[in-house]
């Protein structure tokens, strides 16, 4: 049942900006909701009742989120927090004296500022490391773009002198080199957001993290696939000299990359179900179906385009082959209806 509380909060915060202040608010809300939930169970409520009461007690968080995003300055909050730590300590001591006399009976723990910050520091990359990464990233990206965009000019001379095959192979090699440079630089050195939220690590973020991890893996795989497709295109084209039609490889490639999306969503789904840490198993299942539908859609588009070109070019049926697009559109619509339920 606690998973449902977290799932509910997850959903409430789905559109909130991903700042430290928001994470902290979520953590705070979660701790209090759990405490309330446990109390309700102890008071004899059923799990279902307790869940309903807890969720009903949260209220409207939108206004609160709006306030937070206005003032969110994590660094500033940390500094002022440190300054007031000693005061908090004093207050907690006097509070405890009152508390033993009174009927309350909770013991607030000591402030933890010093400990967090000394602990959190080594986990974040140092400033110098960040700077180095940024420089390497800029170099890789800049070099890649230069080679990629400049390649036609490097071989302009040969092109003008009629060494066309030589020039084209040079240009395509340079283009591949440029793409490789850009991809490698992005994967290895792209600046990462500093993990300021280390201190509020809990299963919430575990889930987020795994999502992020999958997205990253998916991104690399997609870029690698495009690289392969491009290389494949040039190789096939040079071998067959069928430039007029080999571009179809890209159309098929676009459909293939969709397949990667389906694969990753279903993998994430599996992980979510395995760990049962899954907040939105249901939402993920929906996502999985959506990706599958997108894959089928782009495959249909690709197929229609190929049929259109082939029937037109080889059969001379230009006057009618466009019907392929209508058929594809109709099929897509049917699939949409099929997926709706």
């Amino acid at each position: 049942m606690k998973i449902r509380i977290r799932a509910y909060l997850d959903q409430l915060f789905a559109r909130a900006p991903q700042s430290l202040a928001v994470f902290e608010l979520k953590e705070e809300l979660l701790a209090n909701c759990y405490a309330r939930y446990d109390d309700l169970l102890n008071a004899g409520h059923s799990e279902e009742e307790a869940y309903r009461i807890v969720v009903a007690g949260i209220g409207d968080v939108n206004e609160l989120l709006a306030e937070i995003s206005e003032q969110a300055v994590p660094g500033g909050a940390a500094a002022s927090g440190g300054a007031e730590a000693s005061e908090a300590k004093g207050a907690s001591d006097s509070g405890r004296a009152n508390e033993t006399a009174g009927a309350g009976g909770f013991t607030p723990p000591e402030p933890q500022f010093e400990r967090w910050y000394t602990q959190a520091a080594p986990e974040n990359p140092s400033k110098e490391q960040n700077q180095l990464r940024r420089i390497l990233f800029a170099l890789g990206l800049g070099g890649g773009i230069f080679v990629l965009l400049g390649s036609p000019f490097f071989f302009l001379h040969d092109l003008l002198r009629g060494k066309i095959a030589y020039a084209i192979s040079g240009i395509s090699l340079a283009a591949i080199l440029g793409i490789v440079l850009i991809v490698v630089a992005s994967i290895l050195f792209a600046p990462r957001r500093r993990a300021g939220s280390q201190r509020v690590l809990d299963d919430f973020q575990d889930y987020r993290q795994s999502k992020k991890h999958y997205n990253k893996a998916k991104g690399s795989l997609t870029s690698a696939l495009w690289l392969l497709i491009t290389a494949f295109y040039f190789i096939i084209s040079f071998l067959t000299r069928a430039w007029y039609i080999t571009w179809v490889i890209f159309v098929v490639g676009a459909a293939l990359t969709r397949l990667i999306d389906v694969f990753y969503i279903s993998k994430l789904q599996q992980r979510v179900e395995d760990s049962s840490a899954g907040a939105d198993v249901e939402a993920n299942r929906y996502r999985e179906r959506r990706e599958l539908r997108r894959f089928i859609n782009s495959s249909l588009d690709a197929l229609a385009l190929i049929v259109f070109i082939f029937a037109g070019y080889f059969g001379g049926l230009w006057y009618i082959s466009w019907v392929a697009f209508l058929v594809a559109a109709a099929l897509k619509h049917l699939i949409y209806i099929g997926f709706a339920d």
């Binding site: 953590e27 809300l29 207050a91 909770f106 607030p108 723990p109 933890q112």
Partner: protein, 112 residues
């Protein structure tokens, strides 16, 4: 009830400060105390409570720190500052003044 609730909501910050005068505490503790002391007549929504916390912290009336619960999610504790104590006194005076005037205006008619 809803008008009364609105009226009370306007004093959420003073209510929170008044509880924190007893010592540092966290959201649920304060909410539970409110429910118990009013015999469940008044329920403060979590969202309302947290926006009061944020406003008070921004104004320097309270400061916060995380607890070190070993199990489950961590609690965020709040403690009152000297500025907060001043603010509490001001809020309390405001309320007593308003109460006195409203009693005179509304209660006065019934006595006749």
């Amino acid at each position: 009830m809803s008008i009364a609730a609105d009226l009370i909501r306007g004093h959420t910050e003073t209510i929170v400060l008044s509880y924190l005068l007893k010592g540092p505490s966290y959201g649920y503790e304060i909410n539970k105390d409110i429910a118990e002391r009013t015999q469940m007549d008044y329920e403060l929504k979590e969202a309302t409570l947290y926006s009061a916390f944020r406003r008070l912290e921004k104004a320097g009336c309270i400061s916060s720190y995380w607890g070190d619960e070993s199990t489950g999610a961590r609690r965020r504790y709040y403690s009152i500052t000297s500025e907060g104590k001043k603010q509490y006194e001001a809020g309390r005076r405001d309320w007593l003044e308003a109460k006195r005037i409203i009693d005179m205006l509304i209660g006065g008619n019934n006595e006749d």
